[in-house]
Assembly symmetry: C2
Homo-oligomer: 333 residues x 2
Amino acid sequence: MLMSVTIKDVAKSANVSVATVSRVLNKKSNVSEEAIQAVNSAVQALGYSPSFLGRDLRKSETRRILAIIASTEQSFYSDVIRGMEVAAFSQGYDVLIATTHDVPNHEMHLLGMLFSRAVDGAVLLGPKLDAATINSLGEKHNIAMCLERLDNCNVLTVTIDNVKAGRDAVNYLIRKGHKKIGLITTLQRSQSSIDREIGYKLALKDNGIPYNEDYVYFGGYETEQGMRGCEYLMNLPSPPTAIFSISDIIAIGAMNYALSKGYRIGKDLIFMGFDNIQYSHMFVPHLSTVEQPCYAQGKLVIEKLIENMKATNPDHNLYTLPHSLVLRESTGD
Amino acid sequence: MLMSVTIKDVAKSANVSVATVSRVLNKKSNVSEEAIQAVNSAVQALGYSPSFLGRDLRKSETRRILAIIASTEQSFYSDVIRGMEVAAFSQGYDVLIATTHDVPNHEMHLLGMLFSRAVDGAVLLGPKLDAATINSLGEKHNIAMCLERLDNCNVLTVTIDNVKAGRDAVNYLIRKGHKKIGLITTLQRSQSSIDREIGYKLALKDNGIPYNEDYVYFGGYETEQGMRGCEYLMNLPSPPTAIFSISDIIAIGAMNYALSKGYRIGKDLIFMGFDNIQYSHMFVPHLSTVEQPCYAQGKLVIEKLIENMKATNPDHNLYTLPHSLVLRESTGD
DNA sequence: TTGTATGCGTTATCAC
DNA sequence: GTGATAACGCATACAA
């Protein structure tokens, strides 16, 4: 489209060498004031913008990091991305986002940008690839995971302790005086769902309540599935009086059903969600939920990833950040 | 991190020249079966992945397109992005997303990726830069706008007719028998908001209803502002019986207020939103709204943008795609 | 069918 | 303080 103006053109126009132009552009110290002026006005006049293609090749770095997410639909990622951007930007990196739509092959395709050095590093937010694959990639490339951990995965990871979070959530429901606790979770297993389920069971055990598999509904991530889950649970011979859902979206669906059947939410029936999405305090009644530190997780994972890019000995640890309960009307608070 | 294996290493290992390696990798026809085998097994053995840094510089194209959005919070962008990706992918392009968080300077910084040829083109979804700036960028670079148009902007744009959409929405409320129509819009002006307001006024005029500025509330994009707007409108001496909001988020806030005051939504008071976000049919009562063809807009803008990249004579037209009304409980449907 | 050589736009090393 | 020039990794024109 544009007959590219290069550093050579600027050099010619400013009557200096390309080396000097490069020095000015990169703000090196040893260059005369005259040269600086000459170069700057030439740059201005020609509308020159240095090509990253040349620069990146020469320096063999791009200062770009790729965040790979399922889709932009989960508004919940927003704060994570923001944390990533702030951390990256402060060190001169840009964050680019790409979406997989849950297709493992496409996730691999995007990781190709990493293998091909189009980006310096990648962060996976909820990968669909298996641990073994990610492990082998992690040996050769700068890669990290955020929000979601993987069992037996030896890759830098920042997440929360989902077991403890699930446990805390359910313990709270029990402390509210409830003994019959339903769980709505997903058939499609992500490690965070599994961990939250484990937390659910541990909380029951903490309180000497026997685990009853009838109280667990396996559905999908959509609101509709939450409705189904609640419908199923409330039609049990001895329905639960409290329901923990592994996501707010699901919990809202569940409350939708409960509302339509006239249950008094927060009294007859209490609900706890997970994620603290924006909508959880827009919905009426407002939803109690577990909040995870999205911004902080995003920030930390980038800081660690950038450290790794410079390190000879990369850090492949798992970092867990603290979560918290947000109590609203749906639990009678 | 990784002592890069290059095309040279592959050539050596396969006992051929780098040219032959390149030919095999790019699936050129004129190359012997032997060579293909040799190269492929060398690639395999060495774990070679071609560097985009070299390739992109040589071909001076990246086959990457940047989508610049405010943030990933508006789940509403999701389908647009999806349309963009499908269109791009089918032509061998990747779509990368970057967020501005409404900071014009950061938008400019991201456009730097375009100037510096780190991407071949960019799509702005709701730019914060002014028309003059974007115009001048559009002369030299492959750039397009989507979802949001700008007055006097001579840049490829794909959007809907927001004037007509607003007009249709309000006309529907009037056809439902309402004459006192409130409008909740935003103080911070985007062209789409302005256009929807114009549509509101035109619909009133269509029906011989005088415009009353008391019926218009200017707030922000958040749910809370929708509540305020509704509160304001319903406390007027002669409150409206129908409320049009320029976004679903705002409309949900407005309904929140109405619910809390005991109005019977869909009967005493009807609501129309805009965008058809996922929440609009999760909220109870379900929200009537205006749907825009997100996927189609994303798809079209990329198709046109890629055409432009090849064209000597780029297309700077404005394309408007059809919207539709989605009728639910909030309008008594 | 294959190899050699050049150049893409930078930055960095080295002489001056 | 400055200017040649090599090198980054690749694709391709040209020769063979």
